[in-house]
């Protein structure tokens, strides 16, 4: 259904459809760029392009952190909580323990992966649906972080962190964006070309059939949740780089909507069994573009939420009706 959705059994929808969906999405993004840059010349200034790219990088990785669990037919409401736990862990390791930067970042990423692993194990062991487990664990993780840190931000991080966040390659490209795209490429290879990726999608499409054909479904779910935690932590660290500080107010429930927007706009099925890496990137681009455009046009942040909600609704409905339309047309041909 998308460029990189791998049909695990019979293709559920024609391949062209997905491509056209992404093309449509891409066209909308391009149109918005045209509108915003005509209305506000500042929109395409190097500094704004840089700031869009940096936000885009974070939105993309947040979207990926949800996408990898959507692939198994689950969901992870704890992405924001895991993200902020990683943020504060990095602050603690850098500022309080004074660890070298690579070690501290690795520690924060490992914490994110561990929290994701806990989610996965709890889901597999109890057999309770991912929604309720991750809703509860989101609250547990956030609560534990607040208890441990007393919600005090870490402002005295090594200056290299902030400098990396401000770094511009070629005038307006943030290295964060390059990292996000590299992660995208790695995920693309994982789902398209590796046995593990295929197993994840098979388990998502039809767990029973996958189990019968020898896929270790439980293990695949745990791995996906671990990956989700790792990606959420990555997004958290990107925010640390952008702010040059570790704030307890980032992440949390604020990530919930963007985490679903990217993958769902991009064509990842909630039912599981498919991922759309490129789609998620374009979906995130749409979100970032609208946010930045409204900011530049000074419409204000207040209406942003309404726009994002309406766009998500419009996108899922459009996708739905296109599916029905294509089905009817193909039936007519027969």
């Amino acid at each position: 259904m998308t460029d990189d959705a791998i049909p695990t059994s019979a293709p559920r929808r024609p391949g062209l459809l997905g491509a056209s969906a992404q093309f449509g999405l891409f066209a909308i993004v391009a149109l918005l760029w045209l509108v915003f840059s005509t209305l506000a010349p500042g929109f395409t200034s190097p500094i704004n392009l840089f700031s869009i790219g940096r936000s885009l990088a974070i939105d993309i990785v947040i979207g990926f952190s949800q996408m990898v669990v959507l692939a198994t037919g689950g969901m992870n409401l704890a992405v924001g909580s895991i993200g902020v736990c990683a943020v504060m862990a990095s602050g603690f390791l850098l500022q309080d323990l004074g660890l070298p930067i690579p070690l501290a970042l690795a520690g924060a990423l490992a914490l994110g992966a561990a929290l994701g692993w806990l989610n996965g194990v709890a889901i597999v062991r109890t057999g309770v649906n991912a929604f309720i487990i991750t809703l509860a664990s989101a609250s547990l993780f956030l609560g534990a972080m607040l208890i441990l840190t007393k919600a005090v931000p870490y402002n005295g991080l090594p200056p290299e962190i902030g400098a990396f966040g401000r770094m511009r390659i070629g005038g307006y490209v943030s290295p964060l964006l390059i990292i996000a795209l590299a992660i995208g490429a790695a995920l693309y290879v994982l789902y398209r070309h590796s046995a593990l990726g295929r197993q994840i999608l098979a388990a998502g499409a039809n767990p029973r059939a996958a189990a019968m054909s020898g896929v270790p479904v439980d293990r695949v779910i745990v791995i996906s949740h671990t990956l989700s935690g790792l990606l959420a932590a990555t997004a958290g660290l990107m925010i640390v780089a952008r702010l040059g500080a570790a704030m307890p107010s980032v992440g949390g429930e604020e990530w919930l909507l963007p985490s679903f927007l990217g993958p769902v706009l991009g064509g990842t099925l909630l039912a599981g069994g498919s991922v759309a890496v490129v789609g998620t990137i374009i979906g995130a681009a749409l979100v970032t573009t609208i946010r930045s455009g409204l900011l530049v046009l000074q419409i204000g942040n207040f209406w942003l939420q309404l726009f994002l909600g309406l766009i998500l609704l419009a996108a899922v409905m459009a996708d739905r009706y296109r599916g029905i339309f294509v089905e009817r047309r193909s039936m007519g041909r027969r």
Partner: protein, 318 residues
């Protein structure tokens, strides 16, 4: 004696009741402030909004749906009610029913979108939640309506000894909801659709209609919770509802609702909210970091889910 005890064990809310009695006893023993009239008033008052929030989610869980937008919808209804009373000068008797009606309509919108598009209710209500919050913030620009009618504020703060008048509303709603689910045809249909949608449809129940009804009811209950919150706070804050999501699921699930639908308990949800209010109150009295509330609520949901599952496995075997 033994059989009575065993029977009690089989009743799903028995554990909750035991936890409440035990918790209250421990608190009364440890803290002399616990049983004071004022503390009881404070606790009962915090219970009011929370119970309606729990009910708002419970009715969608009953049909096997969920409503991510309860909080956003509540916030929107709160500022609309506040705006109607402050800016348009509507009397309380007009503004309150109107506000609850708007909540019902917004819920119905959730239901219609879910049923007509066939898209997962999670995504639909996630999207509408964002839209409702957007309208809320767009109208208020985050500035509350402070000038509420004195009668409403009095209803929200006056008390008869330890009994806040505010508590009348949730008691009436709980009774009506209990009657509705147990004794009326639409109420039974609601649970039938949640329990087994195919069987319900085959016996002539309109599954779509019932799903829309549940969402509309959920919206109206969230609207009622929002109006109570306005009365309690004495102002229409745009932030009302921002922290309802976890609570809305915690109450019915700790109260024994099945996530798959078909089984909810008004009494269980009520006891769960009592337990949550008790825990929050105990933490305030013990001067524990308020962040612990978040942690404990999460742990409580996990414990309840585990307990429900354990019970299901046991009764399934027995």
């Amino acid at each position: 004696m033994n059989t009575i005890f065993r029977r009690l064990l089989m009743v799903e809310w028995s554990g909750l009741l035991a936890a409440i009695i035990l918790g209250a006893a421990v608190l009364a023993w440890l803290s002399p402030a616990f049983l004071t009239e004022f503390n009881i008033y404070v606790m009962l008052r915090s219970f009011c909004v929370a119970l309606l929030v729990g009910f708002a989610q419970m009715v969608t869980l009953a049909v096997g749906q969920l409503n991510i937008s309860v909080g956003a919808l509540g916030g929107l209804v709160a500022v609309l009610a506040g705006g109607m009373m402050e800016k348009l000068g509507f009397p309380v008797a007009v503004a309150v029913p109107l506000a609850i009606g708007i909540g019902g309509l917004a819920g119905l919108l959730n239901g219609v979108l879910t049923v007509r598009t066939g898209i997962n209710g999670f995504i639909i209500t996630l999207a509408t939640a964002s839209a409702f919050t957007g309208i809320n913030l767009g109208i208020t620009e985050s500035i509350p309506f402070y000038d509420m009618p004195p009668s409403l504020v009095a209803f929200g703060s006056n008390r008869f000894f330890g009994f806040p008048y505010l508590l009348i509303a949730p008691i009436v709603v709980a009774a009506l909801l209990g009657l509705f689910l147990a004794r009326t045809v639409p109420g039974r249909h609601l649970l039938a659709v949640g329990g087994n949608p195919q069987a319900a449809e085959l016996s002539g129940i309109s599954r779509d209609g019932i799903t829309m009804l549940a969402h509309a009811l959920s919206g109206a209950l969230a609207g009622a919770a929002a109006v109570l919150a306005v009365a309690q706070l004495g102002s229409a804050q745009p932030t009302i509802g921002a922290d309802w999501l976890l609570l809305s699921f915690a109450a019915p699930i700790i109260g024994g609702a099945a996530l798959t639908g078909g089984h909810v308990s008004v009494l269980g949800t009520t006891l769960a909210v009592v337990l949550i209010a008790l825990i929050e109150n105990g933490m305030v009295l013990a001067k524990v970091d308020p962040y612990w509330v978040q942690f404990v609520l999460g742990a409580l949901i996990l414990a309840a889910v585990w307990l429900n599952r354990w019970r299901a496995v046991r009764t399934g075997m027995g």
